[in-house]
């Protein structure tokens, strides 16, 4: 069997606080081994990008951080994911508690068929928020750089907004529950360049307060917004493995692995 990745490839980033860490993370969908032995340390209050060709398992890894894969009945994981030191798959860890602290933004904007206001207020409401909801909604919309555009149409349906606005609404919705981490699964892939630019600008602003992990197939985007980059690649067995991880500038200018270099110079994927 040809092993594409050196098994010891571990992503350790010295210096910064650690927000999330995976250790030999494996995931199967039924009998399909989707990702193998991912070991990765995600620094706090930085943007970490997961890049790689489609099918390399980057979204799967992202969905391990907030246990979204629990919703897929045939998914099974081994290995460890630690969030602030706690094993999130441990017997005492509850996925609902976890997801309150690790927010997620999806590939396609998916606002609820409710008003703009109710979209943002939904998370705090179900989590029993007792403060001033109007303030929280405004604050969240401001953080998502959407307030000025929607302040006069808070009662309109979230579905009436443009695609880019919908995605920022989804970001506001995720921020409203005050998470520590924000997972973004190709957040701009369904958007036009201007809307994409706004999302990227927003990520740069948000990293002062939040740990952001972004999955993207767009290398320019990764190089523009991220501080650290992890490159994943699937072998001939379609199982995704971590090839390289490090500060974005290094990965993009002096890749240690020739496959990384091939990918970022556009030779495959």
């Amino acid at each position: 069997m040809v092993r594409l990745a050196p098994p010891q490839m571990t992503g350790d980033v010295g210096g910064a606080d650690e927000a999330l860490r995976t250790d030999k993370l494996n995931l199967w969908y039924g009998r399909f081994h989707a990702v193998e032995d991912i070991t990765l340390s995600v620094p706090a209050r930085r943007v970490t990008a997961l890049i790689g060709p489609s099918g390399c398992g980057k979204s799967t890894v992202l969905r391990c951080f907030n246990r979204m894969n629990d919703l897929t009945p045939e998914a099974r994981t081994t290995g460890e994911v630690r969030f602030q030191g706690i094993d999130i798959n441990g017997p005492d860890a509850d996925p609902v508690e976890l997801r309150r602290r690790i927010g997620m933004v999806f590939q396609k904007p998916n606002p609820f068929p409710k008003s703009v206001y109710d979209n943002v207020a939904f998370g705090p409401q179900i989590n029993g928020y007792r403060g001033n909801m109007d303030e929280l909604v405004e604050r969240s919309l401001r953080k998502a750089a959407l307030w000025d555009e929607v302040k006069d149409k808070l009662r309109q349906s979230g579905l009436a907004l443009s695609g880019g606005q919908q995605q920022r609404l989804c970001i506001a919705r995720a921020l409203a529950v005050e998470p520590d981490v924000l997972l973004m699964d190709e957040p701009a892939s369904a958007l036009d360049p201007i809307a994409t630019y706004k999302i990227e600008e927003l990520m740069t602003e948000l990293k002062n307060r939040y740990t952001i992990i972004v999955v993207t197939h767009n290398m320019q985007q990764a190089s523009r917004v991220s501080d650290f980059t992890a490159f994943l690649l699937a072998g001939e067995d379609r199982t995704g493995r971590l090839v390289e991880y490090g500060p974005t500038a290094e990965v993009f200018t002096h890749p240690k692995d020739e496959r990384t270099e091939a990918y970022i110079t556009g030779r495959f994927g």
């Binding site: 860890a93 509850d94 401001r142 000025d148 529950v177 002062n208």
Partner: protein, 322 residues
């Protein structure tokens, strides 16, 4: 201005935490875990009602049928050629009711099978989307008409018409019930067959056309053979429906338990017998009361078997094309 001012971020940082005290350990708050389980319990109980329904059916049928067989030997039930539980000279030959059920069901299939299959071919291979949108709901209405209405139609429209064509037709007869029952199950045959044909990959059809086959040849030599097991499943399910159908036969086929092979004379199916006894005032615990459960058990086993076979065939068919 779409950007964020630094001050608003700082304001956010100073703002109150969401919810109650932060749960640093990721543990499930006890109250919430309990609440979730309290909500799931009744939902599961509701799903379990369906299991209880099956258990109830089996239990009720079994208890009364066993009492029945304590008096009437199984051999007699299976071999006697007369069915006269309501007379003084009692015989319990299920074959009499069974043959009537088979007669009307097979008769119904003679209508539903060819018409349903041809209609399915029309809808799947010939009809334009517009025609399809009109015809399909109309056929579905046919399936939604209450069976008592079909019974009325069989007795008071089809039978008189048959009598004009074949004078020796009795007022109650298996033929009229069969024909009408055939139309009742036609939509089932056509829609299941059409689904099966729709599952035939486009590439097979295109392969046929590329060899110069006409639409007729593609339909009959490629689509129907490829969809055959799906169509067979439809037929088996349709037979099961016909076997269990009650009101049409009870109204139009008569209530005379005779071992007749002619479709023109009154007969009595298993379902019609249950209706006949139910209309009278049979005392609970009497042997007559138990007969309907013995007949019911026979009916239940037959339809269950047919349904299971149909499902098996259909599952194999689906696996073939996925």
């Amino acid at each position: 201005m779409a950007g964020i001012s630094t001050s608003s971020v700082q304001a956010a940082a100073a703002a109150a935490q969401v919810g109650a005290a932060p749960n640093r350990s990721l543990q499930t708050p006890r109250a919430r875990g309990l609440r979730e389980r309290l909500i799931e319990a009744p939902l599961f109980a509701a799903a379990f009602v369906t299991i209880l329904t099956t258990a109830g059916i089996v239990a009720v049928l079994l208890v009364e049928t066993l009492s029945f067989f304590r008096v009437v030997p199984l051999r007699m039930f299976l071999t006697d050629t007369q069915w006269t539980p309501l007379f003084s000279d009692k015989h319990y030959g299920i074959i009499v009711l069974l043959s009537a059920t088979m007669l009307t069901s097979v008769g119904a299939m003679f209508v539903a099978l060819p018409l349903g299959l041809l209609a399915a071919i029309f809808l799947s291979e010939y009809a334009s989307p517009r025609v399809h949108r009109v015809i399909k709901p109309v056929l579905e209405i046919l399936a939604g008409i209450p069976t008592v209405v079909y019974g009325y139609f069989a007795l008071l429209f089809v039978t008189p018409a048959l009598q004009r064509m074949i004078p020796q037709t009795a007022v109650f007869n298996g033929l009229s019930a069969s024909i009408v029952m055939g139309f009742m199950i036609l939509p089932l045959v056509s829609s299941m067959s059409e689904d099966a044909m729709a599952a035939v990959p486009r590439s097979l059809r295109e392969g046929g056309y590329s060899l110069g086959a006409t639409r007729f040849e593609v339909a009959t030599r490629i689509v129907v053979p490829s969809a055959l097991s799906g169509i067979v499943a439809a037929f088996i399910l349709a037979i099961s429906r016909a076997v269990g159908e009650t009101m049409i036969v009870a109204i139009a086929a008569g209530q005379s338990p005779t071992l007749a092979l002619s479709p023109l004379v009154p007969i009595e199916t298993m379902t019609a017998y249950i209706v006949q006894v139910s209309l009278g005032d049979t005392p609970h615990g009497s042997l007559e009361y138990q007969t309907i459960f013995a007949v019911g058990s026979t009916l239940f086993l037959m339809t269950l078997l047919l349904n299971i076979i149909s499902q098996r065939v259909l599952r194999r068919f689906r696996e073939e094309y996925q």
